[in-house]
């Protein structure tokens, strides 16, 4: 086999307060397809940003050797000039420009500022042929599907004389057919001598296209395996991805003593949701789950598994296009077509993205806490600020929100404290069912423990808790039962006693065999 085209040696990248990459070494051979896999937050995207110059030379430690030379890219343009092109998960196309215009954006065929349209169109057609797209180059990008847009991105990369193509979860947004086509194209490009790095956590895809795979975990490169070797099974890759012990500590669960009730507190039956724009795609596909009083039920899944989409859709249809399914509370069917209806039935949803969907950052702690249940502190439409202050002071103390007063703007708090405000807000609303979406994302270990304690306490009081998380140890430490989802489908349900990280990861990476 050919020698290495790319060597990344002992890369270390720190952000304020976080070490995103601690000692990553990656070697990619000329002409191969190299997969990188790892859990959410393992450092895959950061590594690719270091490579492509998004994080410029000097902002990280370690050396990057491309084609035998040490590279010092100061931005994306510099890395592109050397033939390294990255295609991000969120496509970077301008929707209302044509395919041809997008391909040559920033790199136009022009003389003295005037575009040569004939040359543009001719060259675009040629590139489109190479990626197997037969739409006219003057078609607007918004008029073609996501799958084809992905191909346009690759055509754009080819126009830049790409030598090393980096694809960040290229099939996450594609349906099976488009995924298959894309993977074929990657193999075809390989035949033309283009080296690719593909970030993916769909193991069947990796097995189909990749020659070798490097596993990242907690910002470190764990190992590089030869995919074609017989001993590299999916289980082998999975054990590399999870490999870590349960080193987090969790509070002791206090069991709920009360009446569990005949029917589960919340039951969702055959829930199906379509993507808000791409209506061909089922983001949530026939999912049924339930949670009893006093129970903490986890939902595990990787990015794009449809967990958040399920939760938001159940909570007042705030995501996507609902197509079918029913919600039952204590065995009775309820309507949750709007957020007030869902809240009225005692359901609360604590969002994954607290900055954008959870908090009004420019407003104060007390006003954020009271917002979802203002009725409780007001009479005849007038807020009793006295009462509001008392309530939020109570939460500030009991939740240990670190702020001098409740009149501090939420935007000034740390992530952990912001999360406590969001939780306070929903606890104040007095729900019976809480759906917590990544409640500990991006907060430090100490604050995590405090949040676990609160969740335990809620369950002990007889609330039903749905706990969505990407961190398997957290789910194993906290939940009574764990569901797994992959690509919008429910792929498993395990009681805590039987759950292991390996078993969960296997179900989380389960996908229908890629066609062909």
């Amino acid at each position: 086999m050919a020698g290495p085209v790319l060597e990344m040696r002992s890369i270390i990248k720190t952000f304020p307060g976080v070490k995103a990459l601690s000692d990553v070494t990656l070697t990619v051979r000329q002409g191969e397809v190299h997969a990188i896999c790892g859990e959410n937050g393992a450092g895959k995207s950061t590594l690719m940003k270091v490579l492509s110059g998004v994080h410029p030379h000097g902002s990280y430690e370690g050396d990057i050797l491309f084609e035998g030379e040490i590279s010092t890219f100061k931005d994306i343009r510099a890395s592109e000039q050397h033939g390294i092109v990255i295609i991000h998960q969120e496509l970077a196309l301008v929707p209302y420009l044509s395919i041809a215009e997008n391909i040559f954006l920033g790199n136009e065929h022009a003389t003295r500022g005037l575009i040569n349209w004939n040359e543009t169109l001719r060259h675009a057609s040629e590139l489109l042929r190479r990626v197997g797209l037969n739409d006219h180059p003057e078609t607007r990008v918004t008029d073609i599907g996501v799958g084809k847009q992905q191909l346009v991105e690759i055509a754009k990369a080819l126009s830049k004389k790409v030598k090393l193509l980096i694809l960040d979860e290229p099939t996450a947004a594609l349906n099976d057919e488009d995924s298959g086509k894309l993977l074929d194209l990657i193999l075809e490009l390989k035949n033309q001598g283009i080296t690719s790095i593909i970030i993916s956590h769909k193991l069947n895809e990796i097995r189909k296209v990749a020659d070798s795979v490097t596993i990242l975990r907690d910002g470190q490169s764990i190992e590089t395996l030869d995919v074609k070797a017989a001993e590299t099974t999916e289980d082998r890759i999975i054990s590399g991805m999870v490999g870590r012990d349960l080193d987090h500590r969790f509070p002791e669960r206090t069991p709920y003593e009360g009446d569990v009730g005949a029917a589960p507190a919340l039951e969702v039956r055959n829930w199906t949701v379509l993507h808000p724009i791409d209506q061909q795609r089922k983001v949530v596909d026939d999912v049924s789950i339930n949670v009893k009083r006093g129970e903490i039920v986890g939902i595990a899944g990787l990015m794009g598994a449809g967990r958040t989409e399920l939760a938001m859709s159940v909570f007042g249809r705030t995501y996507g296009r609902y197509t079918s399914g029913t919600v039952l509370r204590d065995g009775k069917e309820i309507r949750t077509k709007s957020v007030p209806e869902a809240v009225g039935h005692g359901i609360a949803y604590v969002t994954e993205d607290r900055k954008h969907y959870g908090l009004n950052l420019i407003d104060t702690i007390n006003r954020n806490i009271s917002l979802s249940a203002l009725g409780k502190v007001s009479k005849r439409g007038v807020v009793d600020e006295h009462e509001e202050r008392k309530v939020s002071e109570g939460f500030r103390k009991s939740m240990n929100i670190k702020a001098p007063t409740v009149f501090e703007p939420v935007g000034k708090l740390s992530g952990g404290n912001q999360q406590k405000v969001v939780l306070s807000k929903w606890i104040f609303a007095g729900p019976e069912v809480l759906i917590l979406d990544e409640p500990t994302r991006g907060i430090d270990v100490g604050a995590k423990f405090e949040i676990y304690t609160v969740i335990d306490k809620l369950a002990a009081e007889g609330k039903a808790v749905v706990f969505i998380s990407s961190e398997l140890p957290e789910l194993l430490g906290m939940c009574d039962r764990i569901y797994t989802m992959a690509a919008g489908r429910l792929t498993g349900e395990v009681p805590r006693a039987e759950a292991t990280q390996e078993a969960l990861m296997r179900q989380m990476t389960k996908d229908k065999e890629v066609s062909r």
Binding site: F315, G316, T318, V339, P340, A342, V343, Y349, T351, H356, Y357, G358, L359, N360, L361, I362, D363, R367, S370, L371, S372, L374, G375, S378, G381, V382, V383, E385, H386, R389, E393, T405, F407, P409, G411, K412, K425
Partner: protein, 415 residues
Amino acid sequence: MSTDVTAKTPAPAPPGKSGGSATDGGLLQLVLNGLRRNMRQYGMLIALGLIVALFAVWTDGDLLLPRNVSNLVLQNSYILILAIGMMLVIIAGHIDLSVGSLTAFVGAFAAVLTVQHDVPWPVAVVLCLLMGAVAGAVQGFFIAYGGIPSFIVTLAGMLIFRGLTEILLEGQTLGPFPDGLQKMGNGFLPATGPDTNYHNLTLLLGLALIVFAVLQEVRDRKRQQEFSLDVLPRNIFLLKLVSISAAILVVTMLLASYKGAPIILLILGVLVVGYGYVMRNAVFGRHIYAIGGNLPAAKLSGVRDKKVTFLVFVNMGALAALAGMAIAARLNAASPKAGLNYELEAIASAFIGGASMSGGVGTVLGAIIGGLVLGVLNNGMNLLSVGSDWQQVIKGLALLAAVGFDVWNKRKVGS
């Protein structure tokens, strides 16, 4: 500006015997902190004071003559009424370009009702307010439920209502209005009681206002103390009370030594207190701040965002109707060109008074302060016979300076 503030503040703070534990440094720190937190509001209040002082000097005191103060109120009342509504719209994260045209349209409607069809004026007032609310409701419907950006809907409204005004009036000016309606625009409180060289009712009203304001402040302070929050040290608090009382007293005396308090000022006062209360204390007000501050978060918190947006525009329509009647009544005629550019003045008032382009921020009092800054600039420059050409240039610069200062200040604080 900021150096001004820091240089000035120590002066009014008599050091020492506050009885509190605060040392001189601590005291200064406290005042500075308070100022910094409310930089925009205090900044604009100080700017307003400076502008008043400057023009008072330049005009040899003409600015503060009782007759002129009375005029100032009459001339600017409708902009201030519009600014209140506009502040709500902007806090909710929208904009309303149609209010200028809508004032003209409602003025014309009032004229058609009272002048051409002899409808009794109280009935006409109610019908006009309804008309404004309906106009606001139509626009609000398209914005809230139709999902069309407010800029577009109200730009359309601006054209439509201006056109409808000309259709209603057939391009002519229509008047005069019945007495009752005229009073609304340029009437004063009736004179009663013994002859004191002053307007008695106005004096009484001013005194009542002072008592009310002082009681309110004292109650607020007590409540804050109950919660062991930082309160102003006693002597600073007393100073604040004295300043508020003095300010009200001066305005009262000025008005009372001319014809008394204009009716429209009373209406405006009720609006300021009422809307201030709603925005601070009512669930509805909270919801406006919430949808402007972070719409997705408000939605996920169960705020009925569409209904709130709709009502904000209904309210804007009703206030525009009120302003429209006041203008028509003051000019004693409905004109096709009435209310031209008023939407821009109202928007400028809101932004000078601390609103944010992205929504979620602002107070009713801020809109009033912003409106007064523009009003005093207008009036003062008129007294100095500055041409309308330069007036516009100066007002434009004032808007730019106010918002620029705010942006700069925010960046410096680094939040």
